[in-house]
Amino acid sequence: MAATEAVGRSAEPSTRATLSTTAALFGAAGTLEHAEEGLQPALSLPDELLAARDRVATARARTSRAGTRRRSRHRLGTVALVGSAVLATVAITEGYARTPLPGVANGTASGAAASSTANLSTLGGISRVLAADQKLIASLVKTEGTIASRYASAARAVGASQAAAKGAASGGVAASGAAPSGTSPATSLPPLPALPPVPAVSAPAAHATTGASSVP
């Protein structure tokens, strides 16, 4: 570490010169070790060198500021250019979309009415399909709730594991005829698996009964 040795040999320390020298020797990438060394008594430099260094630093700072301003102007200009292009594109597209179609603008009234009727018919069909779908979804939700409640009852009575085993065992049995009645073919539900028999939660066996006394 030559710099350390040089610092150790300095006889007239100068704080300003020490800091500047440290910056010049190690640059901005100085480590903690370097910074600590910079606090040691530093090498004394001639005034000419110091003035030259100051001039160089001033020139660098000026150049840096000018570059920063140039880059900022360039960015703003790019953004403004791109934004203008987007706005112009949107305006052109909207204008095109609002332009009446040649066929419609120049066609007869009966043609427009026919087209509207066709559109209304299509919309009506879509509405009916949506309504059927909603009915189907509601039916599925209701069926799911029924199945869940029956499974819960079975699980409470005989234990969750036994209920699950029964449900799995009888899942494919008696699948036909499980669709709810009254549904059209288009919205009929897939056949449901047969539910396991729900055991009645009956009274536990008792050793005795209390009640009305027997009579003669």
Binding site: A203, P204, H207, A208, T209, T210, G211, A212, S213, S214
Partner: protein
């Protein structure tokens, strides 16, 4: 005497049938006080093994069941031979009575005070006025009796019989009494005292009144007592689990008849002299003592549907009741015993 196949018969008095249906359980039955009485025992196996042990056990059980016959003989108000009937004929003088009747009257007096007068044995005249002056054949179907036109008025003031403990004499102070509201409970209490040294667990069942001692015969968690549905449905309204507790029920399911063109029952309100318990069909209580349990079940019944919950809560009684609509009610104190309740 009817013995199960393979059961061990033991030498017991004529009136009790003792059956050992399983090595660890013994059952003995008799009929007294118009009720089938059954005792289930889990004997102390070390002491009861062998023929002599079996014989001693059977004799002890029969002695316990004999209590019911003793109470019936002394305390029934039917017929002409009981000490109570003789005393009721002339209630305005001193009577020397059997020890069983003396003790029963003392206990009835205590119960009268404990319940604040809602239990009062001075309903004998009211019951006779309603035609219940003999054992009615309720099981034969509709029972119709010719009641007297005027219903007896209720009791007035506190009941204050006089006792001479040294001589076993009683003075009823002019009013005949009926011990139907406490007699069977007392029999269960006294019979239990005889069964206690014989078994590690036992259940004494006498119609509506039960006493369950010890951990039971199965899982060691107690005895399971079903509460009958007074509307006649076969399934019970609840199943209770008890250890060292009496379970007693007052119900009008069976002892109901028609008198003077009106339906009446046997639970008479001493305040009015008429059948009470408006809106209720049965009341079941759980407590430490079967006699007080029977008394409280009747007192709660007389409170009627509108007041029973309040009375049970105020007295801290474990009670379950069924009203005329079939609805089931319970007090908070019943919760620890409630094993199952019909939804």
């Amino acid at each position: 005497m009817c013995l199960d196949q393979g059961a061990v018969a033991v030498d017991v008095p004529q009136r009790a049938a003792v059956v050992r249906s399983r090595p660890a359980a013994l059952r003995a039955t008799t009929r007294a006080m118009a009720t089938d009485v059954t005792a289930h025992l889990v004997p102390r196996t070390e002491e009861d093994s062998g023929e002599e042990g079996e014989r001693a056990l059977g004799a002890g059980v029969a002695s316990a069941l004999e209590v019911f016959h003793e109470v019936e003989a002394a305390c029934t108000r039917f017929g002409s031979s009981s000490a109570l009937v003789r005393m009721n004929r002339s209630p305005d003088r001193w009577h020397r009575v059997p020890r069983v009747l003396f003790d029963a009257l003392v206990e009835a007096h205590t119960a009268h005070d404990v319940t604040g007068g809602s239990f009062d044995p001075r309903v004998e005249r009211a019951l006779r006025a309603l035609g219940y002056d003999r054992s009615l054949l309720f099981s034969s179907g509709d029972v119709v009796v010719h009641a007297r036109p005027a219903v007896c008025a209720g009791s007035r003031g506190a009941w204050r019989p006089r006792f001479r403990h040294a001589t076993g004499e009683v003075h009823l102070r002019g009013e005949p009494v009926d011990l139907g509201g406490i007699g069977k409970g007392l029999a269960v209490r006294w019979a239990s005292a005889r069964l206690a040294p014989l078994a590690i667990a036992y259940l004494l069942e006498a119609g509506g009144d039960c006493y369950a001692a010890g951990p039971g015969p199965d899982d060691g968690l107690g005895w399971r007592i079903a509460v009958e549905d007074p509307t006649g449905v076969e399934e019970p309204v609840a199943v209770l689990r008890v250890v060292d507790r009496a379970v007693t029920t007052s119900s009008v399911r069976l002892r109901t008849w028609r008198a003077g063109g009106k339906p009446v029952h046997h639970i008479v309100d001493p305040a009015t002299g008429r059948p009470g318990g408006a809106g209720l069909l049965s009341v079941t209580t759980i407590g430490a003592d079967p006699a007080l349990g029977e008394v409280w079940s009747k007192s709660l019944f007389l409170a009627g549907r509108t007041r029973i919950a309040t009375l049970a809560r105020r007295r801290g009684l474990a009670a379950l009741w069924v009203d005329e609509a079939g609805a089931i009610g319970t007090s908070d104190a019943l919760a620890p015993y409630l094993m199952w309740r019909r939804p």
